[in-house]
């Protein structure tokens, strides 16, 4: 193998044999990019250095996709950027080599790197919205690198771009380049960024979490486009992600990183099917099982009572002020949800479907303009200011981002102590004892009471966030995407904690998530929201087995499985064909899902609101199709 070659000699050989195509091909065919004992340090304010990347070695061969996988802080993005000879501000290369086509890019001057960047190696960032210049037309941004490097004329670059737009299945490929970034959708922008990267025919692509910010349905679409384009262009790629299921679809090799070190590396099937290192095993274990029926906990009926803990009856709500007392934008339409004591209701849907709006209605933060709420069978005031302190206590809200949900200027003991004190003390404990008890409940050390939120890690902050809701001794806790911002393992631990709390305290949970797997593993009941309407609702086992609402079917088929070959199967389904490219649009006429539905009935679905059909006891589907057609 070529790895034994002295890189200096290798370069010399290539130079000597410039005419010798065969030999050149051998070197090129092999390793495109390689790091050898790469070290990167962070430079601190006082000039001292802190190692961030510690002696990392791996290779990327032609035609191969290597995934760098790890949690936040593992250094995966930093390593991937070394392929471009780039360090984020505040970091510096501190030894070892980063060899791109035999050249050590970590030691090259910026001006020498310019002809390499965009030509030999191209970068796709996590957020396309931020990486496109808002003032330049898309085509100029896509084509400028090869044109400026002189490798293509403007006409050639335009032709290449058009070819890529078509390959990436962008709508109206001839004219999309004349638009500005804010005039196209997020998923389209993500694909346009791929076109921008590929326009210079690079040998190596660096993809930094390019699908993380997308909905599952959009993710499939983008993944599919990336995969086929990488294959067609014959490029090698480094794919940075924290999601093993995504990795299984796209990678040939996996490098597992923790704290700037390689923990395990190998072919994708070996790592997925037979992980050796305990950290890799831990990562694999944290993957949630697929959303199938039969996962819900059955031992949660102990706390049941006659009346539902919290109930929404025919609730409609929206934002802004419109005509005749109705809001300007109506989000929720005629939603009925009942949360039984000690049970968990999962609310699922893509972004823009009204999940958080529903939680805010329950919390009293957004009074509905129609319908009513009931707490323990008694009417509950719509607005926060009309609720009694005891009613407020019973319904607690947990925010998605602990960073903004915890006051940065208060110590943990005050954050937790205040609700305990505010709502009165039922069990005769001092505030200090209650705080300690709460910290124990969420498995945090008691010493944390004296800390400020910024002194805690992301997962710990989320636990404090939960504990604050529990401090009120509530009946219902509304959890809004509480695990979405957390790393896989940390998120899985929080779910375990929630399960334990539910068992021990008998608190009911409303669990909002865009991640069907998480909901399926935790909820007793599922409410599938689409564009503010309940598409389907019922017990987990019923919702996750036929008959399905077409939208539920699309969601289920879009959840990535950590299994090689899943992506190809998923995109082949009818749901994917008609549904994955669409956007959620609020509408007052007809069924909102009509534009994405493979079974839509012309003249019916687009004009009339769908009827509510009962598939089984408590299992409701809103669809124009008969139940037996939905099996």
């Amino acid at each position: 193998m070529a790895t034994h070659l002295n890189p200096e000699k290798e370069k010399g050989d290539a130079a000597l044999n410039k005419g010798d195509v065969a030999l050149n091909d051998v070197t090129l065919n092999d390793v495109i990019f390689e790091t050898r004992n790469l070290n990167i340090n962070a430079v601190r304010g006082d000039g001292s250095e802190l190692p961030i990347i510690k002696s990392v070695s791996f290779k990327v061969r032609r035609g191969e996709v290597v995934a760098l996988i790890g949690e936040s802080g593992s250094g995966k993005t930093t390593i991937s950027l070394s392929a471009l000879g780039y360090c984020k501000p505040g970091l510096k290369f501190a030894g070892g080599e980063a060899l791109l086509l035999g050249q050590d890019v970590s030691r090259m001057a910026t001006d020498d790197l310019r002809p390499i960047r965009g030509e030999k190696v191209a970068y796709l960032a996590q957020s396309a919205a931020a990486t496109f210049n808002p003032s330049l037309r898309l085509n100029e941004q896509v084509t400028e690198a090869p044109v400026l490097h002189g490798s293509k004329t403007q006409a050639e670059a335009n032709a290449k771009a058009l070819e890529l737009y078509k390959a990436l299945e962008l709508p109206s490929p001839e004219t999309i380049g004349t638009r500005f970034p804010h005039q196209v959708s997020g998923g389209q922008l993500q694909r346009l960024m791929a076109a921008m990267a590929l326009c210079g025919d690079p040998d190596l692509l660096v993809l930094d979490e390019p699908t993380t910010a997308l909905d599952v349905t959009t993710q499939i679409e983008v993944l599919k486009a990336f995969k086929s384009v990488i294959k067609e262009e014959g490029a090698a790629a480094i794919y940075v992600t924290h999601d093993l299921a995504v990795v299984a679809q796209i990678a040939d090799h996996i490098v597992v990183l923790y704290n700037g070190e390689v923990k395990e590396a190998g072919p994708v099937d070996v790592i997925i099917n037979d992980p050796q290192h305990p950290y890799t095993k831990k990562l694999m274990n944290a993957i949630k099982p697929l959303p199938e029926s039969g996962q819900g906990d059955d031992d949660t009926s102990d706390h049941l009572r006659d009346d539902a803990a919290l109930k929404a009856i025919s609730v409609s709500a929206g934002y802004g002020v419109g005509k005749d007392g109705k809001p300007a934008i109506t989000v929720l339409r005629d939603v009925n949800v009942s949360i039984e004591r000690g049970k968990t209701v999962g609310i699922i849907g893509e972004s823009g479907c009204g999940k958080s709006t529903l939680a805010r209605v329950f919390a009293g933060l957004l009074p509905p303009f129609e319908g009513e709420l009931k707490l323990d069978g008694n009417p509950l005031a719509a607005s926060l200011s009309d609720r009694s302190r005891d009613e407020l206590r019973k319904v607690q809200f947990v925010y998605q981002m602990a960073d903004t949900a915890l006051n940065p200027k208060q110590r943990i003991k005050h954050i937790l102590g205040r609700p305990a004190q505010f709502y009165g003390n039922a069990n005769g404990l001092s505030v200090k004892d209650q705080v300690n008890k709460l910290l124990e409940m969420v498995e945090l050390p008691v010493q944390f009471a004296d800390r400020y939120p910024h002194e805690l890690s992301g997962g710990q902050k989320q636990r404090v966030n939960l504990a604050r809701a529990l401090a009120a001794n509530p009946e219902v806790v509304l959890c809004d995407e509480v695990t979405s911002a957390l790393d896989t393992i940390v998120g899985a631990n929080v779910i375990e904690l929630l399960k334990r709390l539910r068992r021990e305290t008998g608190v009911s949970f409303v669990f909002i998530s865009h991640d069907l797997s998480t909901v399926a593993s935790f909820a007793d009941e599922i409410v599938v929201l689409y564009a503010g309407r309940v598409a389907e609702q019922g017990p987990v086992d019923k919702v996750l087995s036929p008959p399905y609402h077409p939208y539920t079917r699309l969601l289920i088929s879009s959840v990535p499985e950590p299994r090689i070959g899943w992506l190809e199967e998923a995109v082949a389904t009818d749901e994917a064909a008609s549904g994955i490219a669409g956007n959620v649009e609020l509408t007052s006429v007809g069924c909102p899902f009509v534009s994405r539905c493979p079974m839509a009935i012309d003249g019916v679905c687009d004009t009339q609101a769908p009827p509510r059909r009962t598939a089984d006891q408590k299992h409701l589907i809103e669809c124009h199709r008969e139940i037996n057609e939905l099996v």
Partner: protein, 305 residues
């Protein structure tokens, strides 16, 4: 390494658990840079002069050091180390008296501006949208006037005295503080933790004092230095125009005005340059500190000027 042995597993210890990595490195302590130290030394020096000036000045502010040899703009000499001014008074003594007057008026005016601006600004942010809009519109009208023009009109209307100066500068600059604290309040008000407190049922007083204020205090405090500079410049400019501190009271701005003739006759530059330099060093010194502090508190604050 060869392809059959492509699987690499790092050595490990089963006892080690792979916990969540800490969010970020602990923040390093704030240290003043060289220019920051320079600024601090200058400001401390002038503060000492301002506090003790009237007690240690060699002469009274209107006393003549050489009553027997009256002559304007005398050169520096023993007994009057910076020479004498247009009325043959000791410039050094007048600078020392002027320090306490210029700095005292500016400081009090800035404090007043903060008291008015913060109360109304944060109050407006947490008030109903209608009240907020009315207060903001009134404030916008004030803000769209050049400050010195407002000062001129007020002084023209009620005449100049030290309380009038403090009140005028305080009210004029309160509009800037109002805008700053209102926008801070608005920013903090929509944070989740404030909403969480509202959802808990906390009253408005708790929200303002316990949730919003602790988060607004630090940014407002770093802005104080900057505002102080502007107030010093405003007061000095008014005095320079003859509309601020009235003679024979010593004040840096009016000293420049009184002695401007020295430049025309070319006898001595000290009567003009000394008070001008005093103002400049003080304001530049404050600005150097402000720049240093704001560089550390994320984003140069003085870029918002």
């Amino acid at each position: 390494m060869n392809s059959s042995n492509d699987h690499y597993v790092a050595p490990y210890d089963d006892a080690v658990s792979f916990d969540e990595l800490p969010d970020s490195a602990p923040s390093h302590k704030f240290r003043l840079s060289f220019t920051g130290w320079l600024g601090t030394i200058i400001v401390v020096f002038w503060t000492i002069v301002a506090v003790s000036g009237p007690f240690i000045a060699p002469f009274g502010e209107n006393e003549l050091p050489f009553p027997d040899a009256y002559s304007e703009f005398q050169a520096p000499q023993p007994g009057a180390w910076l020479g004498t001014d247009v009325s043959d008074r000791d410039i050094l003594s007048r600078i020392m008296y002027g320090a306490s007057r210029t700095m005292g008026i500016s400081f009090l005016a800035t404090v007043l501006a903060y008291m008015i601006g913060v109360v109304f600004g944060i109050g407006s942010a947490v008030s109903s949208p209608r009240v907020d809009m009315i207060l903001s519109r009134i404030n916008d009208a004030f803000l769209s006037l050049p400050t010195i023009m407002l000062g001129l009109v007020v002084v023209a209307a009620v005449g100049s005295s030290i309380p009038v100066l403090i009140l005028t500068a305080g009210v004029i600059y309160a509009s800037v503080i109002f805008r700053l604290s209102r926008s801070l309040g608005m920013e903090i008000k929509v944070m989740d933790f404030v909403e969480a407190a509202q959802a808990r049922g906390e009253g408005r007083w708790w929200i303002i004092t316990k949730e919003i204020w602790p988060n607004a205090a630090m940014p407002l405090l770093t802005d104080f230095g900057l505002r102080l500079i502007y107030v010093i410049l405003f007061i000095s400019s008014l005095s320079f125009l003859g509309l601020g501190v009235q003679p024979p009271q010593a004040d840096w701005g009016s000293m420049v005005r009184e002695n401007l003739g020295a430049l025309q006759y070319g006898t001595s530059i000290i009567p003009v340059i000394a008070p001008a330099l005093a103002i400049a060093t003080l304001t530049v010194g404050i600005n150097l500190i402000v720049d240093d502090v704001s560089a550390h508190s994320g984003g140069k604050l003085s870029n918002r000027l």
